[in-house]
């Protein structure tokens, strides 16, 4: 078992003929992810990835023809909100949006419409999710993983890879690794993913990678104290970040003394979660918690 994506995933890629879309679709296919369709308006009837994937003009057509049940979006920021709405409109229940730089007010409407439709959104501005040896959706490099008992959820992209690599190097494998995105408005939060990991029988331990800004980590800590009985380890990026400055991610800003790495660390520790000083310490903390 795993969460979000697996062997039964039938993936549609929106923006499959673009540079990034094509590059990463190829990597997803090589990993074994079942990509059943691509979508680029005006390129319907063509095929992508050396003839292996049919391309459609609309998501509705792609769903009708291929039974796609998940979508991964690589289209540029100005078109991405509409791409998410189109996917939800066509009945796709799970949508990953990799695109960064989407205006927050656009996301506000998208968030609520998708929720009303019952579609789960991961991202935007996220690296996607990989269920190890099953399916990879997004841009997380496939070779950093090893199959095992640890679920990982993160707000970052490359920092996620760093932690996964450290775990794999230490012989600690993963069930699913998911990046929820660094924007102020994202479709799924830590608690959504933590509750899925909590329910997943194969996930025996959970790693959470947070960063400065907002209070998602604090809320997640309170949830974990109440609901999660699996061993956990965490890392929070941004201890040296100055207040009032947006550290790349639109969400990563310390404002009015709130959202500091220290307040997050304290909240996590109060919930009984071990917090690392460096990503390299995560495997040791998991081992100390009895994870094999």
């Amino acid at each position: 078992m795993s969460i979000l994506v697996n062997n039964a995933t039938r993936l549609l890629v929106q923006g499959i003929t673009g540079r990034e879309g094509e590059f990463h679709s190829r990597a997803m296919l090589e990993y074994g992810t079942p990509i059943v369709a691509g979508m680029t308006p005006g390129k319907g009837g063509q095929s992508a990835l050396d003839g292996r994937v049919p391309v459609y003009d609309t998501v509705a057509e792609a769903v009708e023809q291929t039974g796609a049940n998940a979508s991964c979006i690589f289209v540029p920021a100005p078109a991405a909100p509409d791409a998410m709405l189109e996917a939800a409109e066509a009945g796709i229940p799970l949508i990953f949006c990799i695109t960064e730089g989407i205006p927050a007010l656009d996301m506000l409407a998208v968030y609520h419409v998708l929720r009303a439709k019952g579609a789960r959104l991961i991202g935007p501005n996220c690296p996607g999710a990989t269920s190890v040896s099953e399916a990879k959706v997004g841009i997380i490099p496939g070779e950093i993983h090893r199959r095992g008992p640890v679920g990982l959820v993160s707000r970052s992209g490359t920092l996620t890879y760093e932690v996964v690599q450290a775990m794999t190097d230490a012989g600690l494998g993963q069930t699913t690794c998911v990046g929820i995105g660094g924007d102020p408005i994202v479709g799924s939060n830590f608690i959504d993913m933590l509750s899925m990991f909590n329910e997943d029988p194969e996930t025996e331990a959970i790693v959470m990678i947070g960063e400065i800004g907002g209070d998602e980590e604090e809320r997640a800590a309170a949830y974990c104290a109440r609901e999660v009985r699996k061993p956990m380890a965490a890392f929070v990026a941004g201890r040296t970040a100055p207040p009032g400055r947006r550290m790349g991610h639109a969400g990563a800003i310390i404002s009015g003394g709130a959202g500091t790495a220290e307040s997050k660390r304290l909240a996590l520790e109060a919930a009984g979660i071990r917090v690392a000083d460096s990503p390299s310490q995560i495997p040791g903390l998991l081992r100390a918690a009895g994870v094999r």
Binding site: A77, L105, L108, Y111, S156, T158, M247, G256
Partner: protein
């Protein structure tokens, strides 16, 4: 992006928010002329984006045009939290009966544009939130239908406005909301909103912070950017599509991804060093962008070593390695560089780096330690 007070007021006035028309001045003579035109006691206000300008002596009352000129001479050139005052706003002095706070923020937890209001105005709202949270109203607006009249009434009654003030409050609340939505703001606040002894409602100070992701569709707002108040290196970085924030240390950092960039800074600190900057070269970094990133980092003479940390994904490691080698060859000044490239095409990347005799590292902890050691050695040699 933060807008100056006079820019924020310009936007609010356009959306029908009641405020006292001010005049922008950049010399004492201009301040005097402004006061003459206004024809009453004025307040001379430093236009800086940092907080606490009142306490720093950047806001002063002047009874006459001559006094306005004198106060302006004192304020221009004043350094407030590292920022030199260049621009002033001269506004009519208002008599204040009571001060309120009125703001709109994008609340990420509520996933809604949210009204924040308090009858304790004139102070930092964060301070009120700590000392007297009951005095603050947080009202999330419906994300699809926005501000409605019942919302406006709720805020007005919460603030305890009398019937006449409630009538005047409508256009202010609606104007603030319209300005927020039209400019894709993260925050729009009036602090203080005041009532005068005559019962008038006026916005005395305003602040708008824009969503950087939406700036590409607002060229008219992008044009309001105050370049004088930004680090030249930060301006150059933005133009190159690089996320860069200057800090005070001596170890330059070049990283892909914001979370990993913050972590790299944290580990430099943990290894006993001080990061000189936050720098995220973003996804798919090309050789020319890497080259610009180096130039920006080395523009700071305090930088004595550079730590490059690239974890491949969207970014291809061999492209970055080639970019680093090429860029280093063309630099005016070089410092020791510790380079770590992992992930997509990292084998090719390592070959390229080794051939160019750069310091490589196996792990991030190792890279941070080597960069700190290299900076120490460089500092000792200099």
């Amino acid at each position: 992006m933060k807008l100056q007070e006079y820019r924020s007021k310009e936007i609010l006035a356009r959306h029908g928010v009641a405020l006292l028309d001010g005049i922008v001045a950049s010399t004492p003579a201009e301040a005097r002329a402004a006061a003459e035109r206004i024809g009453s006691p004025v307040v001379v206000k430093a236009q800086v984006l940092v907080g606490g300008r009142g306490k720093a002596g950047g806001v002063k009352l002047a009874a006459t045009p001559a006094e306005a000129e004198a106060r302006a001479a004192e304020i221009i050139g004043l350094v407030i939290k590292g920022v030199t005052v260049r621009t002033l706003l001269v506004v009519p002095a208002a008599e204040i009966a009571k001060e309120y706070y009125l703001g709109l923020i994008l609340d990420r937890a509520a996933k809604a544009v949210t009204v924040i209001a308090s009858a304790d105005g004139g102070v930092e709202i964060e301070e009120t939130a700590k000392t007297n949270p009951g005095a603050i109203l947080r009202l999330p607006l419906h994300p699809l239908i926005g501000l409605r009249e019942h919302n406006v009434r709720r805020v007005a009654f919460f603030l305890g406005l009398d019937p006449e003030q409630r009538r005047a409050f409508g256009p202010i609340m609606r104007g603030l909301y319209a300005a927020f939505m039209a400019s894709d703001a993260d925050l729009a606040e009036i602090n203080p909103l005041v009532t005068t002894p005559g019962g008038e409602l006026l916005a005395l100070d305003a602040k708008i912070v824009l969503d950087d992701s939406a700036l590409p569709r607002h060229p008219e707002l992008e044009a309001m950017r105050d370049l004088a108040e930004e680090e030249p290196s930060e301006i150059a970085a933005r133009e190159a599509g690089i996320n860069f924030i200057k800090l005070d240390g001596n170890i330059g950092c070049m990283v892909n991804g914001a979370g990993l960039a913050m972590t790299t800074m944290d580990l430099v600190k943990l290894a006993g060093g001080e990061p000189a900057n936050f720098l995220d070269i973003g996804g798919g970094a090309k050789a020319d962008r890497v080259s610009t990133a180096f130039a920006i980092i080395l523009d700071d003479p305090r930088v004595q070593a550079i730590l490059v940390n690239i974890f491949g994904g969207i970014t291809r490691g061999d492209e970055v390695a080639r970019g680093i080698v090429e860029a280093r060859a063309s630099l005016q000044r070089t410092v020791p560089m510790v380079v770590r490239i992992v992930g997509t095409n990292s084998v090719e990347a390592a070959d390229i780096l080794r051939q160019a005799n750069l310091i490589t590292a196996d792990s991030l902890d190792d890279a941070a330690a080597k960069a700190v050691a290299a900076a120490l050695a460089e500092g000792g040699a200099a």
